[in-house]
Amino acid sequence: MSAADQVERLTRRLLERYPPQTTGRTAFLAAQYDAGLTWVHHPAGRGGLGGERDAQRRVFELLTAAGAPNLQVESRLAYSMGAPSVLEWGSGEQQERYLRAIATGERWCQLFSEPGAGSDLAAIDTRAVREQGGWRVTGQKVWTSMAASSQRGMLLARTDPAQPKHRGLTYFVLDLATPGVEIRPLRQITGEAEFSEVYLTDVLIPDTDRLGPVNAGWKVAMSTLMNERDMFGTKAAESGPVELALALYRERAGGDPDLRTRMVRLWLRGHVLRLYAARAARRSTGTPGPQSSVSKVGFAELNKDGYELCLDLLGDEALLYDTYEPDELTAPSGAGASQDPRRLFLRSRANSIEGGTTEIMRNILAERVLGLPAEPRVDKDLPYSSLRRG
């Protein structure tokens, strides 16, 4: 029996033994974890079967068809970014604890970016100071997706300001219910508040929630980010500016030759990006490589151009907007916002910023794939405490 057949058989057996309609959500997810079907490419005992990453797609297809929870959709950041980082860097005890928590529905957010540290992520200023039994953390994070609906955050904090900026960082998994954590919604261009600002004031994190060695947080963060790029690439493939534009085109274009050319060009770009992503998935072994930057850039630009075409197809209806009232827009999961092309158009402007800007992605491709020399870094070897910021 092929590996794919085995995964399919195990998934069907899971669904038979724990019918999603009559099994509690947590019980079902725990059974899925124990069956190795949460991340089939993880080792046995860590939610996987040591199988091919690509086989997970089939598991989700079957689960979704049967009405079972789909973590890849419902707790995307924990599932796609938190788990691989935990698997790579966590102790045995942490792997079991965090992976089981994620697998049974815990949601995570990413506490990396700060007002003074976006593309220059290593410039973060949130401080963690060691004390009895743990770390005392103070600082401010921003652009935190889904913070309000998450239970934990992947936190990057500075633990040694005397070291150069990449070296004095440590990675923590923060329980967001800890006293001193304050989450404030951040209103955006679309009117909704999908992101938040997170203020950390004297927050105590136990040392058992530190992921990876002290002052090695940059490396842990890199594995999180590599998985993030991969996730953005595939996420955009499912949300469809091409499909939406096609529908509007058929309804309204009226044979306009310019719109026809733009439509076929847009379709072509989406088609080729999907071919590329499928090809990358077939070859994927573990941590996504720099090829995920190709998908990231491609889908970001496709989304922007695609929704722009949608607006042109709408014509003067593009002058109006559905609502800017944040209360009507922001569902707890961030998934409730409307699918109005005008909102999607505005939202797409963030695609080439979030998860690493297009400029940073191009640097990565040039330096890591083509081997071009790095940008000169005037701050690389200076102690963080002596750097100019802001």
Binding site: V264, W267, V272, L273, Y276, E359, A366, L372
Partner: protein, 369 residues
Amino acid sequence: MDEPDELRDLRSTLHRMLASTAPESVVREHLDSPEGFDRSAWTRLATEIGVQGLAVAEEYGGAGCGMRELAVAGEELGYSLFPGPFLSTVLLGATLIARSRDAATMQALLPGIADGSLVCTLALPQHGAGWDADATTVTAVSEAGTWTLTGTIDHVLDGQVADVILVPARHDGVISVFRVDANSPSVEVRPALSMDQTRRFAHVDLTSASALRIGAPGSARQLLADAGAVGSVGLAADQMGGARRMLEVTADYARTRYQFGRPIGSFQAVKHALANMLISTELARAALDDAVRAVDEKARDMGTAVSVANIVCSEAYYDVAAAAIQLHGGIGFTWEHSAHLYFKRATADRFLLGTPAHHAQRLAGALEL
């Protein structure tokens, strides 16, 4: 690159042979020669590797392979800018002949193609930069059981060296493909100067030239569609090879050329231009692989996959070659540097088997837009 062992072997063997027998210095020697390519290298490709016979059936002296192998060969030939009649003879000629199922023609021509001794081309008028049997203006007349062809076809690829010319011609209200002997006195071949110095074109005048019909009457449309698909994907592979080469050469240059005390590749503007070259090349690879699959499987989506590969690979090669000139600065615009040869080939490739605009129209039709 991850591909099956037999393909990787073909690629590396061909790569090595081309690097030794057809380096750029040899390519340049033939830019002005009457034939335009190195016969001895062409013969070695046939006898030592079997490139010309890759897709020819074994009973005619070939290896009976498919599009995958042809694409690997096309890519490596494109990488080294090999100036020989691969597109005309192997991709278009041999495919059309094989698909005709015309036993006499297959017996007469395929063994010579496979052993490298016979050059064959397809004379199709460029019709609105498309690929269309209906565009032929050549007429065929049958008298006492023999055919004669009359008409003119412009810029026939490799016309200056062809032994056999395949010509779609109109007769009795249908269009069929005929073969004429290029050395017959009623066939006049006038070589033209090509912008792409690694490919040659000629004007062909037929004045009651004796011809033999290939395959069934009225089968030209189908035969050209079949040969066009294989030719287009082979051409896309050539474009992939050229783009890969220009990307490598330019990245090397950016790592080693210093200005303002730094390698130019450390400047973000240069870095981003190279990243864009890489992105184009990577996406073109995905489109090419998909078209290879579609042709080998004779898939229902073959027409779409071929057009997608044509557009994406044409544009990738052209953009990458253009950026290569820009990033090399003044040296990139000189005769001595290889960039102009690749840029000219990239330019010509856009027009050969339907322009990107033509293929975009085809796609629009397939999508019912």
